[in-house]
Symmetry: C2
Subunit: 326 residues, 2 copies
């Protein structure tokens, strides 16, 4: 089985260069902006998105240079901007084990620093001077903002089905991972077959990633994930474990699940009851099977590329999604 240590060792040289580029490219002349940006940017993020861009470029045969790392960080800035705007949106108490930014600085500042990081991301894409990259980025950000809104609107839509859920997570998560991989191919000047393949690879990876995230929100441990467990439950957010449980549940159990999720005063006891009801219908196993399905699809795509250490590493990253606890 693939281990975290194994992956971390393989990506260490890239991560180091990504961290340097992250440090170098977000600076504002307003010190406060740097403070908030640093809080969100250097709070133990996995750098998955920049890493995917860099590895995708390498998979396409392009050796990565400082320009590539610089370009890659725009995906982390976009991601950070989303997290900042999502902090307000989600009212999440913890974000990667630290106090959520809006508790430290207030909604106003947090929104504006999100805007700043978003602008920096666009600026980096413009400085790269590649219209194809800009095309991908601008499509992506539009889809992402719609996705966040869809998620908000679906907060108490208890009849959201599996397809509706995929639509939300496509926009919320998959499209950015997809864009990172696609831009890797563009950077490597592989604008046809490889570009399409990597775009799809990132998308499948994104589905698997978000499904696992939503699963861990029920089954993870707060200490390990650094996030509150049960956040989605508290917010009444409809995610795949609920959908898969509700689809199989008896009339009574379904009614109770909706009641629990809708409840204005969530308690640990109610969370526990919800988990038990979901477990009764094997919702967690089934959710994991769905994640595995998308990982398999991602691996199938990679099989189109020649074997190489980079392909091998991307395969391990895809497989790791299924075993990760964080």
């Amino acid at each position: 089985m693939v281990t975290k240590e194994e992956i971390l060792k393989a990506i260490a040289p890239d991560l180091e260069k990504i961290e340097t580029a992250l440090q170098q490219n977000f600076q504002s002349y307003v010190p406060f902006v740097n403070e908030v940006s640093r809080h969100i940017l250097f709070a133990g993020g996995k750098r998955l998105r920049p890493l995917l861009m860099v590895l995708s470029a390498r998979l396409c045969g392009k050796e990565t240079d400082p320009r590539a790392y610089r370009l890659s960080v725009l995906f982390e800035y976009l991601h950070a901007a989303t997290l900042l705007h999502d902090d307000v949106v989600d009212q999440a108490e913890f974000r990667r084990g630290r106090k959520a930014a809006h508790h430290l600085w207030g909604n106003q500042a947090v929104i504006l620093v999100g805007d700043f990081l978003y602008s920096r991301a666009i600026r980096i894409a413009v400085e790269e001077g590649n219209m194809d990259v800009l095309d991908v980025i601008s499509r992506t950000t539009t889809l992402m903002s719609e996705g966040e809104i869809l998620q908000l609107l679906n907060l108490d839509n208890f009849s959201l089905d599996e397809d509706g859920y995929y639509e939300v997570i496509y926009r919320k998560t998959a499209v950015l991972l997809s864009a990172a991989c696609e831009v890797g191919a563009i950077y490597a000047e592989r604008n046809h077959t490889e570009r399409e393949l990597l775009k799809k690879f990132g998308e499948y990876l994104g589905y698997a990633f978000q499904i696992t995230d939503d699963l861990l929100d029920y089954t993870g441990a707060s200490k390990e994930t650094g996030k509150d467990v049960g956040t989605d439950f508290k917010e009444g957010k409809v995610t795949l474990p609920f959908i898969l449980a509700a689809a199989e549940a008896s009339y009574e159990d379904r009614k109770r699940l909706v009641e629990l999720l809708r409840d204005g005063e969530p308690t640990p006891q109610k969370f526990e009851e919800t988990c038990q009801l979901m477990a009764k219908y094997r919702a967690f196993e089934k959710t994991k099977e769905k994640a595995r399905f998308f990982v398999e699809k991602a691996l199938e795509i990679l099989a189109n590329f020649e074997e190489s250490p980079t392909r091998n590493l991307l395969e391990k990253i895809a497989q790791f999604i299924l075993v990760r606890k964080v």
Copy 2:
């Protein structure tokens, strides 16, 4: 003296085309996004920014076509996105005479629709496919987000001086008007002298515009402006009338002004007292003189262009800033 009716008549044909383009280019497949966008986009905005782009292009000898109007609306979308994020920021009760969006839909939705409009703006610039345009837009949005943050940080900085104030309003207002004019020149393929001139023209116009806005927040009438009068006062926002009064005031009067602006419980009486203290030091006249100074600078720039109906119209728009009440 230049009248509103005179200007409105001259700009009517352009405005109509701008309105059409505004309608056509913001559509989301999420109906709720359209609802919020429509609320902010079609609430009686003056369309100053798209208009400036279109007129700048025409001043450079480029006849304006559908593509130009399409490009021009990105400036309105950017402006609307700022207003939406500013709604949360400012807690303003009214915005153009309507309920502020966050009172109708909550902070979360409003932030996200702001993000959507921002993305649409970038998308339009990308679809235009001109790197110079993208360069201007991406610089502008970075400066704007820093400007909003600076303004927030300066909320209770009662030692903010005139230069500090100009720095804030450059980023908050002038840079977007400047970008609209500059992009007009780029669109007309006048990338050298005219581009620099129009960039400066827009900047001066922006200073004059924001200074007048800040003046009207003290001297305007709520019915006419559709905004709360005294909003800046209530928020303790340091603007030019305060700065110019404080610079001349006796020790006692200055102390009182700071007290009034800092006061956690602003009342109409305290607002009245503030206005009287400012009037005592001729702060409103002096603020207006500053606005006039920037309008003069803008007119000097226009003198570099050959006389034409378009130049004449831009001159009138610049002059109108000084007499407008809205």
